[in-house]
Symmetry: C2
Subunit: 437 residues, 2 copies
């Protein structure tokens, strides 16, 4: 999500403080049917989506619903014999208005449209109160969740810690000796969970010739999986190459490969791939309705930091389970202590050290721990968040879960994109609205 | 399946006529657990399966159950709300002995083991009488079916012909003008269905620097999907490059791209991808139990000739439906006329013209029409057959369906491999055995 340089550039766009220069929120270009991406046999050349354009607008509008058609993937099987019910109590929220930019309001419909939404689902007190699919998406379509993946991996790691199978105080090298000499070797598992490891790594999504670009290359994100730059094509070969910068534990630093380190520990301890662990530890106990899948590198290893693809109702089940102290549909899916830990506040001092200009911290309270974003507000809100507009937003006070999946042109949103600025305000307003009902 | 040169080389190995030189059928190397393919985090280098080793023994033992983990794929969704039942009446057939090579017998267990079986399922009168999973395979594992895929595509084409949406007598160029100047342009749809098109193409699986190898390159079968040899990486770009050899309609010539031409016609006429057509025309009406998927090229187009991956019980449902005049679980899935057409005999004269030495024709009666193998025997047997040991074998007289999926080291089997020689004899003996019960 966050990088020092992009946060700084975002200062220009702090949506909370800026007036809107044009009178309306512009709608993005039409969805696949409208713009014809991958339509016809064959699609016309300009409208073919290829592996190397997975992340590039407008191709990402198709790609994020079709990752398996572009990349190797591993299934996360549901238990077909036990799908947990999800009750509905639908309300007409499309016309609901929220205050967004200075002195202005926008309806939910307008915001969804303007923020490149593919699906939007709201649970209130465990029931679906609003559910929309756009841009050709269907209720059963797995959508790329990007860094929401981290919150699933973090939750599994907390489960292993709670079970005593992982000691959060132990160094990474205790579990993965291959990482002893890397940036991660002496970091504790908890520091990796909280992303307070000190690593020479800049997570700048817009620059493909960067640390992030090299991470993406491992997964063929920007081209052939055999590597454009002849770097490692297996995350197992890549992680040991990352170097330490300073002392661990002093400052939050958002670095996606931390989560791949958690995935490696998870596999070492459980003997399972990330997909198989997710299947047995969360997906099947949760009674997920649809199979999910995870994007793989050329060596068959999951992108634990950003590669999960799931359908929105299953993301909602996951969020609701955390709100219900780890229980869902009569089962204790994760220990109550794990759910409580996810819902606790973050550490503001550590969070702001490297991100003093974070546009969310001041007004919204945004910080990070255990692979979840924590908003430190009156609603004790936490969220899984992924680039290009992915959210699993949990509001324990309002008993509300919002799932939003999107295909925004920019990873973190720009001046014309609402994802990283207005949407948390919208979710909060929606929570207040539902609480009044 | 068949090529002139490989059929000729098979003469040396005509298993029916050769004595066994060693006293027992040798077991192949152990399955994934035993030989450690893709085990551990990371797997050791020698045991990593990569895209470029998909087809290479022993890596294919893992790859054929994990195609989606190596290649881009498109889902064929089941209808979760309607899975058709498949009753069981299990019998102990493992010790059943069949006559195989000259004067010898082997048990079913021995044959399955020696022929690199991943799953083996027998239906008799619509009930499962035998079901085994080996080499780490599970009942829900989709397995690569190779050219059994053709029989699914052929069946859909027969449905469109029966519905009057495709005219079998019309030339391919009527439906796909892009192919007008290619080998296929003036061929009729029926000639493409029967593979009596005359094309400059040698389907030699063992030679990757061949027409077959170039077809495989379109799908990254032997390496990067961006192409080792800089040829087309989209089947839509590749098919128009194939050249005509002589007059169409005179001789059977097994050329896989014929089926990709059928797929193109299918998509033009229905407006659906091959996967979506299969989903709506066969998979959901059949009440399939598991999702299937199809291997894609780098342009997102299905390998209609060989790319289907499905679980064995669903293959059995498909076969049983054909045996039941197109009905299954109370639904008419395909018109009775289509099922009857699939079950009719083949044309021996056309079949043997280019394959005079076919080791199966004389003793077994083997020929081809409508994308199905026809055995012209007393049981009116037909089969979908794929390289490396894939079968959906239908015996209408015995009311038996056999599904065998395998990962044989050689595409068509060699002197030590039983797939292409003893197995049809085994299936026939099994049919006789079940008829006596």
């Amino acid at each position: 999500m966050a990088t020092r340089s992009t946060w700084q550039s975002l200062r220009l766009a702090i949506a909370l403080l800026l007036p809107v220069s044009t009178g309306v929120f512009a709608s993005p270009e039409p969805g696949p049917t409208g713009h014809g991406l991958m339509q016809g046999f064959p699609p016309i050349a300009e409208q073919r989506v290829k592996r190397e354009t997975t992340m590039i607008a407008p191709f990402n509008r198709w790609a994020f619903q079709h990752i398996r058609e572009l990349h190797p993937t591993r299934v996360v099987l549901r238990d077909a014999a036990r799908v947990s019910p999800l009750a509905s109590d639908l309300r007409d929220l499309g016309g609901f208005s929220a205050p967004v930019r200075e002195g202005r309001v926008a309806t939910l419909e307008q915001l969804l449209d303007a923020s490149h939404t593919d699906a939007f689902l709201v649970l209130h007190r465990g029931r679906i109160v609003y559910e929309r699919y756009l841009n050709g998406m269907q209720p059963y379509t797995p959508h790329l969740m990007f860094s929401c993946t981290k919150s699933f991996v973090g939750t599994m790691m907390l489960m292993l810690i709670e079970q005593g199978r992982v000691d959060a105080a132990k160094p990474v090298s205790h579990y993965v000796p291959e990482l002893a000499r890397s940036a991660f070797g002496e970091a504790s598992v908890q520091q990796v969970l909280d992303m307070t490891t000190s690593i020479r790594f800049e997570e700048v999504y817009a620059d493909h010739d960067s640390d992030w670009g090299r991470y993406g290359d491992v997964f063929g994100m920007y081209g052939a999986t055999t590597g454009n730059r002849k770097g490692p094509t297996s995350i197992f070969d890549y992680l040991p190459t990352l170097e330490r910068e300073g002392a661990h534990g002093r400052a939050f630093h958002y670095v996606t490969p931390n989560t791949d380190v958690l995935g490696w520990i998870l596999s070492r301890v459980t003997g399972l791939s990330v997909a198989a662990a997710l299947e047995t530890m969360l997906w099947q106990p949760l009674g997920a309705e649809h199979d999910g899948y995870i994007w793989l590198d050329a060596g068959g290893r999951e992108m634990a930091g950003a590669g999960l693809n799931i359908a929105p109702r299953d993301a909602a089940r996951f969020g609701q389970m955390i709100l219900e102290q780890g229980r869902f549909d009569g089962r204790q899916v994760v220990p109550a202590a794990v759910a409580a830990r996810i819902l606790r506040p973050g550490n503001a001092e550590i969070f702001t050290k490297l991100y003093p200009d974070d546009p969310w911290y001041g007004p919204i309270g945004h910080s990070y721990h255990d692979q979840w974003w924590s908003f430190n507000n009156a609603h004790d809100t936490v969220s899984a968040i992924g680039i290009h507009g992915q959210y699993i937003w949990l509001d324990p006070v309002a008993q509300m879960v919002v799932v939003k999946v999107s295909s925004s042109p920019d990873a973190e949103g720009g001046a014309n994109d609402l994802n990283d600025s207005d949407l948390p305000l919208l979710y909060h307003a929606l929570a207040e609205h539902l609480m009044r009902q």
